[in-house]
Subunit: 395 residues, 2 copies
Amino acid sequence: MNFEYQNPTRIIFGAGNLSRLGEVAGGYGKKALLVTGGGSVKRSGVFGRAVASLTAAGIAYAECTGVEPNPRITSVARGAEIARKEGCDMIIALGGGSVMDASKVISAATLYDGDPWDMILHGQEHVYVPTEALPVITVPTLAATGSEANCGAVITNEETKVKSFIQIPLLYPKAAIVDPELTVSVPKDQTAYGVCDLITHVTEAYFNGSGTTPIQDRFAEGVILTAMEWGPKAIADGNDLAARTQIQWSALVALNGWVNVGTNAPYPVHMMEHTVSAYHDITHAAGLSIINPAWMRFAARTNTAKFVQFAERIFGLKATATDDLACALEGIDRFEQFLRSIDCPTRFSELGIDDALFETYATDTLKIVNDGQGNLPGIPVMSVADMVGIFRSAL
Amino acid sequence: MNFEYQNPTRIIFGAGNLSRLGEVAGGYGKKALLVTGGGSVKRSGVFGRAVASLTAAGIAYAECTGVEPNPRITSVARGAEIARKEGCDMIIALGGGSVMDASKVISAATLYDGDPWDMILHGQEHVYVPTEALPVITVPTLAATGSEANCGAVITNEETKVKSFIQIPLLYPKAAIVDPELTVSVPKDQTAYGVCDLITHVTEAYFNGSGTTPIQDRFAEGVILTAMEWGPKAIADGNDLAARTQIQWSALVALNGWVNVGTNAPYPVHMMEHTVSAYHDITHAAGLSIINPAWMRFAARTNTAKFVQFAERIFGLKATATDDLACALEGIDRFEQFLRSIDCPTRFSELGIDDALFETYATDTLKIVNDGQGNLPGIPVMSVADMVGIFRSAL
């Protein structure tokens, strides 16, 4: 364990805090670019309440609407253009992970004259690493990505079909107003995807980490157990504010560093999913729900002890000396059953995706990240053939 | 759950990082007040290595040595005086919790002309709440208090026998260089006290929190289980760097907010211990080790379900519907056995403390914190008689 950690984001958590947006924003600027997605925040009234809070605090705003579920670099460029033209001095992200990710990159792109795609890792490099950005305030309306309190963003280049990321301390939001009331109108399927997303954030670090992080293991298990307990309640009754609160908090801590710090883990399932969704524009978590259990069955043959720990601590199973792998696989089966129980897909065929591009996904994944020897980092590392085998097992 | 959280401290964790002190300090100032305790850092060579790193980076320093185990307000005043006279522009705390706590208060006292005791809560108020402070860098040489990455400090007024605290965001250290190598020379008893201290930080929030924080519960249990697994290894072999690493990390996360955020818990065992150690100058954790199990047996009668959860999740016990309290008490017995197994005291008589001042401790505790109705906040709230009963049960 040797690492640095600093997460400066001010977290303002709890039902009702949307009303504090104006007061909080007043600490960072005078005119906000208000970034939103497909319009659900307007239909739900959240947008109106956000604007009322800003107006009451004397904060002006311009709008960037229509950020897509897999946010595109063209939307980033458009947002930056509006921010410049309108003289915005801060960015407010009002939406889900896509809106928040796009907003972070807009915050840097506004102050950069070049092509914003320069900032996103592609061809294994960043052409440009930004050194200045407008302050960002996140107001998540979905419990899923944890983007509200971390410094990462995933962006798609729709032209080149590359979905990749930037993750640098500059992009930590200044403040995250995390109000679980904003999530009560999220439909069942998106709620379930959020649960799957947050659990996958945790399993990635858990199974691909350095192996000497017992507290991080316990924290990860705590998030998974909590999400599995409260997620189904939030799905069953969207108005269950207690359940919404726990899922919202689970999603945030799943990826703000508290769970994965020191694990130094790559996120191989995410890397594979990103290339799949770059081609098919599926919901990120739907891809994760399919690929993660398939990947787990592959990885459990190498990293059996960790999967036994997962089976024992999450599902109360008990391995005997002679059946470690059986116990590990039983844990994965139980996990997959959980995903099915909340109606997440676990096979590509459920999304109408066949095996035509399996090799393309694998080779594209390696174009973004590889270990220098043609393999995708993870435990174990994966060749193109390994990835194709995993995809095929989830057909 | 409704709270704000922001911990800006930059954590630099891992063996060998002491060598980065000069480089890190260079980001915050040119001349440091180097605060130390009784001299162990000089005997162990840590002081020399710290100075070498500062010197190599061109950072000058002045010294404030001899901060006591229960740091006194006179030491704070002395440190501030040196910092002013020597023109220091930052404070470096090289030591245990006492040194770090004193350093935080020195950082504000240096810029305050009045009596530094004004800043410490007493008579239920702060006479003065500081608004500016020099940057602080913490370099813990003991795994215990977690002071390295939080904004609290406990200070004793030796004249009035009041031991109280200040906890404000201004006092977050800018950086914490947490190098487990610095703890290998800590003797067995102090190592054990550190384990007891960090576990008590966690149990306070766990048992006195709002009751709707399932992730925080899991995180707390994770820290306790990790400390109980690795603590005895660090005690058995002080050179076991893996064990020192886990205990150092446990101590930090036990009190940097990740575990207790949102619980809104008072720390009644700490409040009671502070008054005891204000009179007897005992090691803080020795007092905690005595008072905490005694308090638990008292509190379990009210808050039985939470103590059952503790018994089940920490010790693998299983309550049946009819014996909840028995299960809860069995868990507390097991916890006390653990403390005894690492040679922590669990009775006042082991420290030569009799019942002469039990009522004084209780009434003094209420002078620092009470609920406005003459009780100490906690679950349940405690009267003077309750506290005396707890003290007596640990005689």
